[in-house]
Symmetry: C2
Subunit: 236 residues, 2 copies
């Protein structure tokens, strides 16, 4: 019965068996209905995905309280990660496909702009900084929750693990020396997704780096290209 049930079942399916397992036909099966019945409520599979993303993202935008802009951004990043963490298999949709944009939330955008302006961002850098904020919010988490190959996940993990541990120490001495700190905890060198092994401390570092970087940028809006401090603000 009706769209909401369909979206709920779809999200459940994604949570349990991954994005690839989300099939119009499977949703129909779950609802004891002919596959074609779905198409009366939802135009196509992409629209269903967009609806799922929308639901996942509801309530990430913090209120404009009395917090500093730094704290507001921290809160935004943390909330986004928490929301996606509840449905990790949705991460790739938000991060790597524009499907999600179908359900854009003007509220989020408006608030980010307000916060940036209040922080003293000059208007001619506003669009750039907005993009930096969105990328900072989405980028890390998309990577963190990136899914394993669907089929032979156990096998695949074993193989990657094997390959990691057989890295030649004389060819890559620095990597070899720090392998204990990296193995299964760092991008590229891990065989489990963030939904199984969270990357909390790296995420916190990422948040602090991003905020500190924005801080610096707002102080000196001109890119600090140390090599060529040739042209000044007025020259364009």
């Amino acid at each position: 019965m009706s769209r909401d049930r369909i979206v709920a079942v779809a999200l459940e399916q994604i949570d349990r068996h991954g994005l690839a397992a989300l099939t119009v036909r499977e949703v129909a099966r779950q609802l004891d209905v002919y596959p074609t019945a779905i198409y009366w409520h939802v135009p196509n599979r992409d629209a269903l995905l967009a609806a799922v993303v929308e639901q996942t993202m509801s309530g990430v935008t913090p209120d404009l309280g009395s917090a500093t802009w730094q704290d507001w951004l921290r809160e935004l990043f943390v909330r986004y990660r928490k929301a996606v963490g509840q449905h990790p298999n949705v991460a790739q949709l938000v991060g790597a496909q524009l499907v999600s944009n179908a359900n854009l939330s003007p509220l989020l955008i408006d608030r980010i702009l307000c916060v940036l302006l209040a922080a003293g961002c000059p208007e001619d850098h506003l669009a750039d900084m907005y993009n930096v904020v969105i990328a900072g919010m989405v980028g890390f988490v998309t990577l963190e929750f990136a899914p394993l190959p669907t089929d032979d996940s156990a096998n695949w993990a074993a193989q990657l693990q094997e390959r990691v541990h057989s890295i030649r120490a004389m060819e890559f001495p620095t990597l070899a020396r720090h392998l204990p700190a990296l193995a299964n905890k760092a991008f590229i060198v891990r065989w489990q997704s963030g939904s199984e092994v969270p990357m909390e401390s790296a995420f916190n570092a990422h948040v602090e780096v991003t905020i500190a970087g924005i801080e610096r940028m707002l102080e000196a809006p001109e890119p600090a290209n140390a090599a060529s401090p040739r042209r000044s603000r007025g020259s364009r």
Copy 2:
């Protein structure tokens, strides 16, 4: 004939018609061969994708020259963006699926670690900072090149554009006021991918923010949680 031809054809197909159009059967068709012939050279579709990613990523790692760590990171980010920009539809594979990890490049990891250590990163923060670097390298670009929904892209773009322009100015005044600077140039508020409309200046801002943030972090490795400056370095 043989794996290399297969991978080449696969990459071509992805470039021309997107990731969804990459089909084992289509590759076979292109090579005038039975679909099942592919399976003698490649174990399955995921392996084919991994091979494509590997080819795309070859040569992104800069040499360890005499550059500052800041310039080295800048160079890395720029090279990564350029490499992915040549095959934009591969972006989602690197950014949002661990398939890519199958072909990990120890060289890249080793060099990043070297550069971070040379920059004065303490060993107990090395893993975190490494993750920050990878996320900074991949995150923005993955978003920038995120593909549109496959099927009705023209239609979809028109609809989103319509929705963007019909944002109620009194509900979201800040967004409405800056819409000219954002429309089709900023995440969530655009209807074309970065492969059609590059986001160069935002990317540059992102690079500078990330580097400046890392700089700050290396100066004061303890997360500047302004609210609770309670525990010091020795307390754990």
